[in-house]
Subunit: 425 residues, 2 copies
């Protein structure tokens, strides 16, 4: 009954999960307005220089700079305004010496003109037919030169970038009204536990509601996957096995919550064995979630997360999230890591490395990490708002306010490589 | 033509926008699996204590602690195991003195038992009919007491909380399979600018593609709104006016990009006037985006964002985003603010407070803010990845690496009150 499991270091376990071959590197083309949050599957190339023509960055007058030579307060130069051109239009006339064209911000430079004089530096005739200038302008003064910001053919964004509003703007600029992104991995979720009711069910003696599955489904959604909740696995090994086997063809990965410990109804280890899945690890040197198990079957990871809600959450963020982002082609799949100062005492000593949900705030430009749920009256609210995992190394004493700790930032995904976060201590 | 506009301080302008009465504080009920990212419109109340019954936190044996008195290495106590109960089930038998029940993690405590002995501390008979214990247990050892974590009726989450995975778990725990959230504000978007092509159009002389509208639509989506893009406003005042007027009844707010400056085709100021809208400000003491204009009409804000892409982005994040979150009932509508050290030189002197898109990294537990787009070859990529606005106060010289600056964090929304970020300098 009691099998001996050898705990694996967290960093080693993460590496093992990310080495699972991604057999499902599918891509799809989506319209630009649906591309936000997705991962680019193709490089974005500038189809034109930026700006695509010499243009005026101001509302003003396009002039031949030679005409302004000698202009001064006492020697004003008067130019005839022969046309007004709005942005997006092209001047129809070509100014001769002594002539100017009134242009709006963004207008393509009219032929023969090579400088812009802003409205504020001119005196305009009442009928708008002429302007007076009292200073000299040089060639290309106030003109944005074609290609000044970017040459045609430049790689603007590389494959593997996650698209935010700025990336959407870049795609639009270069004519992408649709774009290739990586497909959302389809991730199946089963809950296990005969004590579980679904959230809409009334409570019964001995039973609790299933909070892990809705939580994991939301974690999947936040990470950019397409979750499919298959309900609860039954309390019978053969039925369990066949339900798991039946869905494996339809998903890119499978998550189960519960069933990986050593209780009489913890069927997952035996299911992995019967499937012929390779167990990458079944014990991790951490709390909570030491029983977190990951196996692979035909290149698909099977995440056996703990049934304990905190352990389930942590197991997802440490192992499932990075694998998901990696398999979507995200160049930065890991949780962003930083150091922080502890914002409150954590008096509980613990022999194992502990990943505690907490909240990051900033004080004088420093990260402050406060464990959630120490204050009982605020436990759910604080867990709900948690935006980091605080890494507390194992030790015989607790931690004090101001101690330096490592933190892994949730929702700040993918910016840093995940290394063993305790090594700096 | 050139009207005199008085610039307003950024903090004052933000306050004015947030004072616009929210006439559209609608709520809706959504199923739990669609509640992620939404703002709670109702408080979540614990419908049962947590845990809802005395329960075993371990796989082990439920015993009568009195039976273990006197147990020791040399004085082992043997108990008869009369039943095995899985989590979610209720023991059918009631142990008499000298009897125990085998239970799994999460099981409701069988009647008459008051302590749990974990598997590892027992020696089990081969046929499972009895166990031997070699130490004493006290009443309630290893038992989680009903209501220990939370009493029934506790307010678990208050209205105004944004729901992440942890909040979804809390809702599930307390039986919410659907929940009241605030409705997504419907925000109309018009682009203006006769130079604009849509992203799918081929380039023409003098024209550029419309990148602001797709960008703003994505910013709206990220902020949790329901964007509606109405296309480009025509190059004719009367047509512009009637198109704006026609959609005002259908939206909770209207965004226009461009058309707020002093060019000949900048119609928005005149449109606001003809609508009878109250202009809250039409010049802000900042760069880029000094022409950002916000008006209100019948309690609906009209955001006149600049046509310059950087200014448009900044105007949205400073004014539209906070208003949106506020109108959705988010208790923390502002951009989170912090201090940071500048990660690279910013040599450009500027007389005005400048909001520069940049990227936050962490070094030794400190925030480092690096302006995006200084390196021309990386300009688009870095803007696309930007996760902060760096606030550079006006001055006659530039800034050096290591200078302390204020930053406003994008995508870390709503954690701090927005105050004039330059006041600490």
């Amino acid at each position: 009954m009691l099998e001996a499991r050898t705990p694996m270091k967290v960093s080693e376990a993460v590496e093992k999960v990310l080495q699972i071959e991604a057999v499902h590197n599918k891509t799809e083309t989506v319209p630009l307005q649906e591309a936000g949050g997705r991962i680019l599957a193709e490089a974005v190339i500038a189809d034109a220089p930026v700006p695509p023509f010499n243009r005026s960055p101001l509302d003003g007058f396009a002039v031949r700079s030679a005409d302004t030579k000698g202009a001064g307060r006492d020697t004003p130069v008067t130019l005839q305004v022969i046309e007004t051109v709005g942005a997006g239009h092209v001047a129809e006339k070509v100014p001769q010496p002594g002539e100017a064209i009134r242009v709006m911000t963004g207008t393509i430079m009219p032929k023969e003109t090579d400088a812009i004089v802003m409205f504020e530096l001119t005196k305009e005739a009442e009928d708008g037919s002429a302007i007076t200038i009292t200073r000299e302008f040089n060639s290309w003064d106030n003109v944005v030169i074609k290609g000044e910001e970017m040459e045609k053919g430049t790689v603007v964004l590389e494959a593997g970038e996650r698209l935010h509003a700025g990336g959407i703007a870049a795609l639009a600029t270069f004519g992408y009204d649709q774009v290739q992104v990586t497909a959302k991995p389809v991730i199946g979720v089963f809950a296990t536990g005969t004590e579980l009711l679904e959230p809409g069910d009334p409570l019964e003696p001995g039973k609790i509601r299933n909070s892990n599955a809705p939580m994991v489904v939301e974690q999947l959604r936040e990470a950019g996957a397409a979750p499919v909740y298959y309900g609860q696995l039954p309390d019978d090994f053969d039925l369990c096995y066949s339900r798991v086997q039946n869905v494996l063809g339809d998903v890119d990965a499978l998550i189960t919550t519960g069933g990986v410990s050593v209780g009489d109804f913890d069927f997952l280890p035996a299911i992995y064995e019967k499937l012929g899945a390779e167990v990458l690890f079944n014990k991790v040197a951490m709390r909570p979630g030491s029983v977190t198990t990951v196996a692979q079957w035909n290149g698909k990871p099977l995440f056996g997360l703990s049934g304990n809600p905190s352990a389930c959450f942590v197991g997802f963020e440490l192992f499932t999230g990075p694998w998901l982002r990696h398999s979507m082609g995200d160049k930065k799949p890991y949780l962003q890591q930083s150091k922080a100062l502890l914002g409150s005492d954590f008096p509980k000593p613990n022999p194992f490395t502990r990943f505690v949900r907490g909240h990051i705030t900033f004080q004088d430009g420093r990260l402050i990490a406060t464990p959630a749920g120490l204050d009982k009256s605020q436990v759910v609210t604080s867990l709900s708002r948690a935006n980091a995992l605080i890494v507390l190394p194992g030790g015989t004493r607790g931690f004090q306010t101001g101690d330096q700790v490592a933190v892994l930032l949730l929702r700040g995904e993918g910016e840093a490589y995940f290394e063993e976060p305790v090594k700096d201590r």
